[in-house]
């Protein structure tokens, strides 16, 4: 089936003529299948629809969560104590929160985005250190023993072996990988970060104004962490940085402290400036290096302006083509992203609609409603004004998103 809509986009957006037919020289077999697919589906590739098939299952985050929710927020060591479930239960109340305020809630909901996983040793979350592994292994080893109240069965001990093995392999891997990451990133803000992130919208707004936006909410138990909160460097902020550096005499002469003072930006700590300055210096240093050497190399190539390869193209052409390819990939990604956002929106709308009619939102229901054009609702949903309203709102929301997302 031809996705005409996407072709329209491509034809207006991409200034490249893709003439498949005769102009192709012999291309090795690996490409033939590709070419066939290409010619079958039209001049340009189909819209990438590699989004997870999530349309089928839109789950309600409200209502019937009940006893299910407690394990989610449970602290690791509190698993054996049912009483402790109560402290971890903001889930129900949080479920209704709006997205903009939800980040903090999220942190408390899942206990993972907070740096204070108190019952659990400094965690597999933000910081990866050997302790959690031992803790976990030790814990998993303990589980069969600790389950005396339930009764230790053979089955259980087998499972715990399996579990221990799993933990041994996987958690160690996780820890190892992250440890090496951490070592490479020593001194950067990654190490003790964090917790909760602000939502994207405030960031976008603030970034336009050039104000630094720290991507972290202060959390009660981590005063030191705010110092190393992750910073989002926008071009505007960077511009101010460069100005300050130039005022101080250049990237070599400038000191983090001086730059920080000159910039007069809130939320910016000296750690941020330090690491940024380091990156800045590296970025300037390398081009200078290669400048010297590449000139020599390239001047010898001046005698061979075009390299005689398949089809006799030169370097610029190669670059141009590479660029085209990249541009197209970019377009596809943008489309994919807006589609992903829209799918989520649609799911929410459906959810709203169904709830308005007090239809229990289960998987079956949502699966049925999201089939095909949505007009084939297998439920008997009476056409009331509220339904129309909601669906209209959803449509407006969706359309708006299209317009804003695809510019």
């Amino acid at each position: 089936m031809e996705r005409l809509s996407t072709n329209r986009i491509y034809s207006s957006g991409v200034p490249v003529t893709v003439s498949l037919d005769e102009s192709f020289p012999r291309i090795p077999n690996a490409q033939n299948a590709l070419m066939e697919r290409e010619s079958r589906s039209g001049p340009l590739p189909n819209l990438q629809v590699n989004i997870a098939p999530i349309c089928g299952q839109f789950h309600s985050s409200t209502g019937s969560v009940g006893p299910l929710c407690s394990p989610l927020a449970v602290r690791f060591s509190s698993v054996l104590n049912p009483e402790q479930y109560s402290n971890a239960n903001p889930y129900n109340s949080q479920a209704q929160s709006t997205t903009s305020s939800s980040t903090l809630n999220y942190g408390s909901q899942y206990g993972g985005f907070e740096p204070s996983l108190s019952d659990f040793p400094r965690d597999v979350g933000p910081t990866w250190c050997p302790d959690p592994v031992d803790g976990m292994l030790g814990y998993s080893g303990d589980v069969p023993g600790g389950n005396n109240s339930i009764g230790v069965s053979e089955d259980l001990s087998k499972q715990s072996e399996w579990w221990t093995d799993f933990m041994n392999d996987d958690w160690k891997d996780i820890v190892d990988n992250s440890m090496s990451n951490e070592n490479q990133q020593a001194g950067q803000s990654v190490q003790s970060s964090i917790s909760v992130h602000q939502s994207a919208t405030p960031q976008a707004v603030a970034s336009q104004s050039g104000e630094p936006l720290a991507v972290a909410a202060p959390s009660p138990s981590a005063a030191s962490n705010t110092a190393k909160a992750r910073m989002r460097w926008t071009p505007e902020l960077h511009e101010r940085f460069v100005d300050a550096v130039n005022q101080l005499g250049g990237s070599e002469k400038a000191t983090p402290k001086g730059v920080l003072k000159l910039m007069k930006a809130d939320n910016l700590t000296i750690y941020h400036v330090k690491s940024h300055l380091q990156k800045y210096r590296t970025a300037r240093y390398r081009p200078e290096l290669s400048e010297g050497s590449s000139e020599k190399k390239v001047s010898s190539k001046e005698e061979i302006p075009s390299i005689d390869l398949k089809g006799n193209f030169d370097i610029t052409e190669a670059l141009r083509l590479q660029l085209e390819l990249q541009k197209r990939l970019h377009e596809q990604l943008e489309i994919q992203r807006s589609l992903q956002l829209r799918i989520e929106e649609q799911g929410k709308c459906l959810q709203m609609m169904l709830e308005q009619h007090s239809i229990p939102v289960t998987d079956k229901v949502l699966d049925a409603s999201t089939s095909a054009e949505g007009s084939k609702l297998s439920l008997d949903v009476p056409e009331s004004s509220t339904v129309k309203e909601v669906s209209e709102n959803c449509q407006n929301g969706l359309t708006k998103q299209t317009e804003s997302g695809d510019s």
């Binding site: 809509s5 329209r8 957006g13 192709f24 490409q31 590739p45 819209l47 629809v49 997870a52 999530i54 349309c55 839109f58 789950h59 985050s61 299910l68 394990p71 698993v79 997205t99 999220y106 899942y110 965690d123 589980v143 389950n147 499972q159 399996w162 579990w163 996780i174 992250s178 992130h197 939502s199 994207a200 991507v215 992750r230 910073m231 926008t234 071009p235 960077h238 800045y280 081009p287 400048e291 590449s294 390239v298 001046e302 390299i307 089809g311 193209f313 370097i315 052409e317 390819l325 541009k327 197209r328 990939l329 970019h330 990604l333 994919q336 992203r337 992903q340 799918i343 989520e344 089939s371």
Partner: protein, 251 residues
């Protein structure tokens, strides 16, 4: 192509520094299998808590990596623009002017490519998250997916507007710089030919004289995005959505 396989391929083709920054999809799948296998309450709760914890950790990692790369790109973009200004205005005598031009072009294409790859990174990790959450919900009957995904949508690693903007700026800069000279060309090569050529000569660098070090990954990302999900529910939804939403606005 199954997602796990696709992810694996992308990881293999990616720059070495990037390889361990992707979603630990397989690991999470195993966790889900474990969870659904064990039916005893404490066992299950343990595994579920671990699952959530791993997920959180993954998102954390994405954010960290993404923001770091973003910062670097912001810096490089600005430096490049300075360079472009110099080269465009400088017009030094041949051959060094041309050499500069060549270098700048290459730098721009490199930067552009890396930024697009970062966008791809974001997209594929998001997809992986969505998929694994769906699996989780399916196996456990819990309702973890929707709230988690909502939060994921707001995370820095998915808030790619800035990078997208940088990419567009890069493309604009490129228009200027690629059009200044009238290059003679032999047979026009199309992008598909270019991919084919790259796949032939694994090391395009040796022929071109300089490395386009991630052209492999770009091709990979581009090609793998071309899988058609005909007949799937998703395909239908995509159709439905694109019909409802007014694509004509694009024109």
């Amino acid at each position: 192509m199954k997602f796990g396989k696709r992810l694996k391929k992308q990881v293999e083709e990616s720059l070495p520094e990037w390889r361990d920054k992707f979603l630990a999809y397989k690991r999470l799948k195993r966790l889900v299998r474990l969870i659904s296998g064990g039916n005893l309450s404490p066992r299950r709760a343990t595994a579920e808590a671990a699952f959530v914890r791993v997920l959180d950790g993954e998102v954390e990692r994405f954010n960290a990596f993404f923001l770091e790369q973003e910062e670097e790109f912001v810096i490089r973009q600005r430096e490049l623009q300075e360079m472009v200004k110099k080269v465009a205005a400088g017009e030094e005598a041949w051959p060094s002017g041309a050499a500069e031009m060549r270098r700048v072009r290459k730098e721009i294409v490199d930067l552009h490519g890396e930024m697009v790859l970062l966008l791809n990174y974001s997209a594929i990790n998001y997809t992986g998250l969505a998929k694994i959450l769906k699996k989780y919900d399916k196996r456990t009957g819990r309702l973890l997916r929707l709230p988690f995904i909502e939060k994921a949508l707001q995370q820095p690693f998915f808030a790619t507007e800035l990078i997208s903007r940088l990419v567009h700026e890069c493309e604009a800069t490129m228009e200027a710089i690629f059009d200044t000279e009238r290059e003679h060309t032999g047979t026009r090569m199309t992008p598909w030919m270019w991919i084919g050529f790259q796949n032939d000569a694994r090391d395009a660098a040796s022929i071109l004289g300089f490395p386009l070090h991630f052209n492999q990954q770009i091709s990979m990302a581009y090609l793998s995005s071309d899988h058609v999900t005909t007949g799937s529910r998703l395909g239908e939804v995509a159709e439905g959505v694109s019909d409802k939403a007014d694509w004509n606005h694009e024109e």
